[in-house]
């Protein structure tokens, strides 16, 4: 007899329906699995066998063939265990076919029959839309987000069978008693003392979606500042929330108690992170990488110069197109990768500081700064130099403005921008700029001056205008024209990367 049980697996951030076909027939007793399973998948035989025995079912001593369709796709992980077990039961007529009709099964089996959680349940359930899905208890919330109706949960195999045959009712999914993750958990901007320019830069980056580079000596507070950026961003809207939750689920990360991720994620990969972990991939499953996990949130790269060149190259596609396409010989996946990039770096290998305190010779400094050039250098709309706060500021009594009030302004500015152009200011094209960010005469003169002095490239010109537009939205919302003050502030936030070396060449008489 052949049993055909619906299940699913994950590829990238999407679920792929998998049909588990089990055939129990004549022939020498044996178990054969086909359909490109990986090692974990193959091991399911032992798990399923023990689980069936623990639940007092019989393991048929006949020829069992399990086919995981479609064959063209690799299956990995233990998520198909439950489906295989049910298939064996149905095929060996220990469970009536009628009882499993209209159900799909996801879950890993323990040797005692316990049903264990698997990663990626949300996208998997999403791909099985017309059917009731049976999932482990820990995955209840994820399944609920994606399912059209109520998911079926169970703690072990025996329960699943009992509920299927109708001897027991399915357990209801516990209502979430937690409110969504408290915003108070996010670090607050009031912890930052002094540093008015850096705080303003954070506000600008949050309001306009501008990528930001923080340049400063060790101990200047770059990491602290970057960690406070998510607290300034508004909560995710419904679509973005769902997208982010799907990605995190596909990666196997824990979701908040409420199920949905409501706040912009903050990812801070260490500079030793491999390219694959950064960008996504892997040989079988094509798991999402850091760039995808940071979607709709912030990707923070501390010590930018220490990242491998290949990791930095991998950021090019996400920054240009907002997606990352990963391809392997057997499969390919397109995953979302739209984030706010914040990076931090020292101005030179020794750490820098006020003029005269740098210990590096020009060669070492040049080499260090060259690592930052290339695909990323031009992406940063904001390049802010962060200095150690003075002793008085550090020990002073009052903290700075708290995140809540800054967020207020950020949300207002974002709303203005969205209403005006339908997108955040960082996404404005040069044509959009002419339409939505006209310059006052004084501002235009200053910019022309900068271009003539070769301190601003064409690309730089557009970036300044975008940032100036955001600055205008923050300080004078409703004002259509971008004025000189806005442009000057935008220019001040594009520090040169050259460092305190006096370039002597122009001096020779």
């Amino acid at each position: 007899m052949i049993a055909s049980i619906p299940s699913a697996s994950v590829l990238g951030v999407r679920g792929c329906p998998v049909t588990v076909e089990v055939h129990v027939g004549d022939g020498l007793p044996g178990y054969h699995m086909v359909g490109m399973p990986d090692t974990a998948c193959r091991e399911s035989r032992d798990r399923v066998r023990a689980a069936l025995a623990s639940c007092d079912f019989k393991w048929p001593s006949r020829s069992i063939t399990v086919n995981l369709a479609p064959t063209s796709q690799r299956k990995s992980g233990a998520g198909l265990d439950l489906a295989i077990a049910i298939g064996v039961l149905v095929a060996s007529e220990q469970l009536p076919v009628a009882d499993v009709a209209g159900h799909a099964f996801l879950g890993e089996l323990g040797l005692d029959g316990t049903l264990r959680s698997v990663p990626g349940v949300a996208p998997m359930v999403d791909s099985l839309d017309a059917i009731d899905v049976v999932v482990p208890v820990e995955n209840a919330r994820e399944a609920q987000i994606a399912a059209r109706g109520m998911p079926r949960i169970a703690a072990d195999l025996a329960t699943v069978v009992t509920c299927l045959v109708g001897a027991r009712a399915w357990e209801p999914v516990p209502l979430s008693s937690h409110s969504d993750e408290a915003p108070a958990l996010l670090p607050d901007l009031s912890d930052v003392r002094g540093q008015p320019v850096a705080r303003r830069a954070l506000e600008i980056a949050a309001a306009g979606g501008h990528h930001m580079l923080l340049i400063g000596s060790p101990g200047s507070g770059k990491t602290m500042l970057a960690q406070r950026l998510p607290g300034l961003l508004p909560p995710l809207d419904r679509d973005d929330s769902l997208e982010t939750t799907m990605v995190h689920s596909a990666a196997g990360l824990r979701l908040p108690p409420g199920g949905l991720i409501r706040h912009p994620p903050f990812r801070a990969p260490h500079h030793t992170t491999s390219v694959v972990a950064m960008v996504g991939g892997g040989s079988h499953q094509l798991r999402p990488g850091e760039v995808s996990l940071a979607t709709n949130g912030v990707l923070f790269m501390d010590e930018l110069g220490e990242f491998a060149r290949s990791a930095l190259e991998g950021l090019r596609e996400p920054l240009e197109e907002g997606v990352i396409r990963v391809a392997r010989a057997a499969a390919r996946a397109t995953m979302p990768a739209r984030f706010l990039l914040v990076a931090a770096t020292n101005p030179c290998p020794c750490g820098g500081g006020p003029p005269g305190s740098c210990q590096c010779d020009d060669h070492a400094r040049g080499r260090y700064l060259r690592r930052l050039s290339g695909p990323l250098a031009d992406r940063f709309d904001l390049r802010v130099v962060v200095h150690r706060p003075a002793v008085d500021e550090l020990l002073g009594a009052d903290g700075g403005e708290p995140s809540a009030s800054v967020r207020h302004r950020v949300v207002a500015a974002r709303a203005v921008a969205l209403e005006r152009a339908g997108k955040v200011n960082a996404a404005l094209s040069p044509d959009d700029l002419d339409e939505f960010a006209p310059l006052a005469a004084g501002a235009r003169t200053v910019l022309r001056n900068e271009i003539e002095r070769e301190r601003l490239t064409g690309r730089g010109y557009h970036r300044i205008r975008r940032v100036a537009r955001t600055i205008a939205d923050l300080s004078d919302p409703g004002e259509p024209i971008v004025t000189l003050g806005h442009v000057e502030l935008a220019l001040a936030m594009r520090a040169s990367l050259r460092g305190p070396a006096i370039t002597d060449s122009r001096w020779i008489a």
Binding site: E488, A492, I502, W507
Partner: protein
């Protein structure tokens, strides 16, 4: 022996393995350069006074390297670059170095010895100099040259280079540069034009023949020559440790007075000079201090160069004063002067555009009047 071949012999000698100033001095005291080279090569018997110095190891090393240094070849090489050589035996050898505790055995030169015939002041300082420090060094160089005083320095990055640039703006004949490598290869590379300008207008000196690399140990040795050639040494900027402090010590050993430019307590590059002043060096805040120490009439008026920059007023003047006191950042202006961020950015930008401040790496420094 023709002048060229003599130079070639000296160049070949000075570049031998295991040769030191003391050994060269001993050799040249008793032999003509050509003969000395033959002695080193083992072709000739050394003078009895020189004999004890010639250990078997030394003989071997010299024979080997002399075999590869043919004086005709070196003569051509020196002629190509315009390098000459003099020893203690020559009349042109600077008097003041004859009586030095450690005089050089040979000096390779490009340029004109008359540069040493006037009053001489050494100006040295750190390679990690600040903008204002370099500006002041250049100003001193220019003003001293205008008064007909020669400036001796090391042509290093930072203060040394700035001082000579100032000199060249006034009178190229007043520049004397002493370097730590061969005269054929400007070091550091960015100073190539400066080297050539000093060699053409003034005098360029080295203890070592063309082709010598600027190895670290040569710099302290070169510093003693700078000290030896100066009547006064002015240290413009130095950290708590540095080559210019070595030069200061060499100067004191030779009875040459040391003067130093005081600096802000927040400026690391002023730590060494402030310490020198604590230890008794006379402070220098303008060229008149140096001219006074030299005994020159400092009341002779020198025209101040016309400063074409528009004078800052109001907010700009406040910000400029702050940058003058110490290099400032945007944060400093906002926090200490109470400006709004936008106003601070606009004021600093205006000052930068009118040439009053210079920005690098987020720090704004005052730009002095053009040296």
């Amino acid at each position: 022996m023709g002048a060229d071949l003599r130079t070639g012999a000296l160049a070949a000698l000075a570049g031998l393995d295991l040769v030191t100033t003391a050994r060269l001095r001993m050799l040249l005291a008793h032999h003509e350069p050509g003969e000395a080279l033959a002695v080193a090569a083992g072709r000739c018997r050394p003078h009895p006074a020189v004999e004890p110095m010639m250990t078997p190891e030394l003989r071997r090393a010299w024979a080997l390297s002399a075999a590869q240094r043919e004086h005709g070849e070196w003569a051509a090489r020196c002629a190509r670059v315009g390098v000459g050589a003099i020893t203690l035996a020559d009349e042109a050898f600077p008097e003041v170095l004859r009586s030095d505790p450690q005089p050089p055995a040979v000096l390779f030169f490009r340029g004109d010895w008359t540069a040493l015939d006037v009053r001489r002041v050494g100006i040295v300082g750190t390679r990690n100099a600040t903008g204002p420090g370099c500006d002041f060094a250049a100003t001193l160089g220019r003003q001293l040259a205008e008064q007909g005083v020669t400036v001796v320095s090391g042509l290093a990055k930072g203060i040394d280079g700035a001082a000579h640039r100032g000199v060249l703006r006034a009178d190229g004949r007043r520049a004397v540069g002493v370097v730590a490598n061969g005269l054929d290869s400007p070091y550091p590379r960015v100073h190539r034009e400066l080297w050539n300008a000093v060699a053409e207008g003034g005098l360029l000196l080295s203890e070592w023949p063309p082709g010598t690399e600027p190895e670290k140990f040569r710099f302290p040795l070169r510093n003693r020559i700078i000290a030896g050639l100066s009547e006064l040494l002015v240290v413009v900027e130095s950290r708590e440790r540095g080559g210019s402090l070595t030069t200061a010590r060499e100067a004191l050993e030779r009875g040459v007075d040391v003067m130093a430019v005081p600096g802000s307590i927040n400026n690391r590059a002023a730590a060494g000079t402030n310490q020198l002043i604590r230890d008794g060096a006379t402070p220098v805040t303008e060229v008149a201090d140096i001219l006074l120490a030299l005994g020159l009439d400092h009341r002779r008026s020198h025209p101040t160069a016309f400063d074409s920059r528009p004078l800052p007023r109001g907010a700009e003047a406040l910000v400029l004063d702050r940058c003058r006191a110490d290099p400032s950042t945007l944060d400093t202006i906002v926090a200490e002067l109470g400006f709004s961020i936008t106003d601070a950015a606009m004021t600093l930008a205006r000052l930068e555009r009118s040439g009053w401040v210079r920005e690098s790496g987020g720090w704004f420094e005052e730009v002095g009047p053009w040296a």
